[in-house]
Symmetry: C2
Subunit: 558 residues, 2 copies
């Protein structure tokens, strides 16, 4: 019997960051891609709309790619498909809900009719080339999430996707511990497990605790109640709608994505609502405020989201007033804290009572496994090798340490990051190569045309603004035909700074009179009048204002 | 006996925000100003260096202002003095350490010789006009902090400043509970109390717990150890230096503010260091790394701070390597989290072990009183009226609620915000008027010349960049003499976008050919060629890139 070929794991995203998950499995020259997600922009990626993985490597090996296999329908697992799938063009596998969301995203890019979608059931293994794949149900903050058992001639790898272990989820069907135990009993080659919440102690707190918490809040509330949460968390939406029903409130939904998710879920029969429990937002006028509950997007204080519009009195159908209640049924994603707190302060100033996770823990539970759940996953699957996925370096390192405490030899585990080419051969796990990887920025319709240079410019512009200096010269003589013209934006308030700008103009003219040496250029330098103007203006604004605006010269020859 | 005049409290900063503390006490036409702090810039105040309160009201009443009375030396309590004091020009009261720091700040602005400073001792009441003031010792994350007992004919107000209640502080002298109890026994008219940590349950954890935690970390550490913390927290610095001494490491300090604070504290005899325990950073080469501990600024990941430079291998004297340890002895200030975590990931990637508050709670304690301390303050002082200070609206509201639970009638307490004119007359507390207030931005040498318009421009520039279009026309005919010129910054990478820019130029020329109507201007509008160019370019970039850069036109007449 010949020795089986090694398995290769090639993460192009999600390993050294939260989000942008994309992992390639390569076996015997054939590949599948697990998940294809985006990362969200940060305060550093100015103006960028979203971030997708650099897939140069995948494109080069396009011929070998058999399928995209998706664990669940969150944006950080499917959101990059509209940009990446067209370059690869193979079937997409997933559960009904996941593919419903994929179709919605592809439709936005007029791609939905082209992609072949393969609907997958839990516990029904199927074959893609050398890979036998079995979807295993896991609980997460979206319905129909899955861990994958990926079996090749070398053995079975469990790829958890995002998961937690909620024993009493909304729909009564928890993480499929039996199937995980089945593989553990048989013998698991390797476990690749979600590290997002490895810093959190304890077990998953069940979605159930939210019911009681909401009931208490609603029992006390006298005015209008707004609950904001992630639109993708169907179980949460259902929990809220049922709580509203119990206390005699009708629910109206606000925010486009809320309607999208609900529509897809309803068409798949994944959400069951009490009759007449949900009304159209346009009908809210017909109900007294104490009979109404709004379910809103914008729990992260996203720009122009429904919750922000409601707070700013910009929502067409409702206006908050003193005595109303707003419930944030969500955690604050790192980076969004200050925005959300200022939203809450604004609501407070209107006399609106605000309930949130940081005062009432039972108003939200995370979809990611904390430490004790992660240990249970390790215990059930008893893997020979371990590789943490989904997380920043600090998460991955900590998860590897946790696995070590569970008996996984450090020689048998590995922290890999994006672009590592990991080989698993039954005897060892190691990084044998590196492949191109990186982040590609999507800004408006442009994919990849905004890079680090442009971002550096935007950062500079954002800190000190810009000064444009235009000089018209005679072609032959090189003499100025007019006084230089100055335009500024983001430097000072121009209407009140005419004197300053006049002085700046004079500084440029003086520089022309005195020549390069007065501005400390070397004698042998080839100094144009644009160079002179730029240096003169830089020095002027530094000295006068202590600022360093971008200075942009334009010389027009006539 | 005539009825005593009412007391007025006029907050110009710190009430509806964290930072920028400034509160005016007015009695019988005379005023004192308690604290004069800055707020730190946020992700919204692009490029701004610091924020100070708008003191128009104070300037208008300059003749009535008798003194600045400072509770302690943190920047959010003294940092605005260099900008505000020159406009008022009265004596400044404070403890030795506080005035040492004030002098340092004023010296940076060449103002230190002009200001009259009055050094104050605890428990030694003094009179300023109608105000009798007694400094009461409180523990806080800076030495020589004070609460103030401010007595007028109407009664005594306790103004806590920033405080916590640490029964076992580093120097052995805790918050002066006796003095607080003394006033409580006599009868306190009103309490104005620090709300910063009102959301935190429990009591202050003493600075002492940090010693044991540090000892454990140092016992395990094999390589170089870097501890980063706030330079102003002298007790913390002393704790670290002593722990280093115990385990046989010499301490070298990095970061300018660390040296400043140490120098002032030593000159005042406020820090006692074991002999030879501190060495110059330039001498670190002579010691093996396991005999060395660096004490560094930059615990908040501040741009260009020592900790950032160390992490980026830009510090001249030391280079981190695998096996070294970095200790963040600090909490992460809201808004800084992502920056600090990415610093930690970077350290992790070098194989450096990182210890921080969010994994080891005993590595830091807060300087602000949590709920049980706040209750103790209320219990000891037993005030008739209560007004929460230092906090966002949500903190102030919660603190008022806490006071209510402690028996303060809601009629006797008040949430005031900046600019409110609060009257206290012995029978009631209420807002009777409003005065001008606001935030003034300091950017480089400019104070107040960057306002909301400039910030809005910077924000816009940061998101989509800028396009400048220059058109040279003949004065008489209005005809273009040259093709329009385009410059962009922060929109696309220009070197790779020549075609795009050529197309944009053509879009402008086409607009000139087709005239205003083709761009949907109304027939009766007065449309210049600058208007045409701007609209043409906006539409071009929207359509082509889905972006909305700032478009800045310049028409030069020849």
């Amino acid at each position: 019997m010949s020795r089986p070929a090694p398995l290769h794991l090639i993460p192009l995203g999600g390993l050294s960051e939260i989000g942008m998950n994309l992992m390639i499995y390569e076996y015997d020259g054939q590949m599948i891609v697990i998940d294809c997600g985006i990362a969200f922009p940060t305060s550093e990626t100015l103006g960028v709309d979203l971030i997708i993985p650099d897939i140069q490597f995948l494109v080069e090996h396009r011929q070998q790619v058999l399928a995209f296999v998706l664990t669940h329908g969150h944006e950080d697992h499917i959101g990059a498909l509209p940009y990446i799938w067209p370059q690869i063009g193979c079937p997409i596998y997933g559960t009904d809900m996941t593919l419903g969301l994929v179709e919605h995203r592809l439709r936005e890019h007029q791609l939905h009719t082209q992609a072949k979608m393969v609907h997958v059931d839990y516990r029904r293994p199927f074959q893609i080339g050398p890979f036998n794949i079995c979807y295993i149900r896991v609980t997460h903050s979206i319905v129909q999430a899955a861990a994958l058992a990926i079996t090749t001639a070398l053995g079975t790898v469990i790829h958890t996707g995002d998961f937690n272990i909620d024993h009493t989820p909304k729909n009564g069907v928890g993480t499929d511990l039996f199937r995980l135990a089945h593989y553990g009993e048989q013998g698991v080659l390797a476990l690749l497990s979600d590290s997002t919440n490895v810093t959190v102690a304890g077990n998953t707190r069940s979605e159930q605790i939210i019911e009681k918490c909401l009931d208490n809040i609603l029992a006390e509330a006298t005015g209008l109640v707004v609950v904001t949460t992630f639109a993708s968390n169907l179980h949460r939406l259902q929990t809220v709608i049922e709580a509203a029903e119990r206390c005699g409130r009708k629910v109206a939904m606000v925010g486009r994505s809320m309607l999208t998710y609900m529509q897809i879920a309803r068409s798949l029969g994944l959400i069951k609502l009490p009759a007449d429990s949900v009304i159209d937002i346009k009908a809210v006028d017909y109900l007294p405020r104490e009979k109404l509950l709004l379910l809103s997007t914008g729990s992260q204080g996203e720009n122009n989201s429904a919750m922000v519009r409601i707070t700013n009195d910009e929502q067409r159908n409702v206006r908050l007033q003193a005595g109303d209640t707003v419930v944030f049924s969500s955690a604050f994603i790192p980076g969004n804290e200050t925005t959300i707190w200022s939203l809450i302060n604004m609501l407070n100033s209107k006399g609106v009572s605000v309930k949130h996770y940081y005062a009432q823990r039972d108003i939200h539970v995370s979809g990611h496994a904390p430490q004790e759940d992660l240990k249970l996953m390790l215990a059930l699957t008893r893997p020979r090798f371990f590789m943490p996925i989904h997380g920043e370096l600090r998460h991955l390192n900590m998860h590897r340490q946790l696995a070590h405490e569970m008996g996984i030899d450090l020689q048998h585990s590995l922290v890999a990051t994006n672009g590592d080419y990991v080989e698993l051969d039954g005897h060892s796990i190691r990084i044998v190569d590196h492949v191109p990887h990186g982040r590609v920025f999507v800004d408006g319709k442009g994919v990849g045309d905004v890079g680090d240079v442009v971002l550096r410019d935007r950062k500079h512009l954002s800190e000190d603004g810009i000064v444009v200096v235009v000089m018209v010269i005679e072609k032959e003589s090189g003499h100025l035909l007019e006084r230089p013209e100055l335009l500024t934006r983001g430097v000072v308030y121009e209407d009140e700074s005419q004197d300053l700008l006049e002085d700046a103009k004079m500084a440029v003219e003086e520089a022309f009179d005195l020549g390069p040496k007065a501005l400390d250029f070397n004698e042998d330098e080839d100094v144009g009048i644009d160079d002179l103007a730029v240096r003169a203006l830089r020095r002027f604004f530094k000295k006068r204002l202590g600022r360093r605006p971008v200075v942009l010269p334009l010389v027009m020859e006539m």
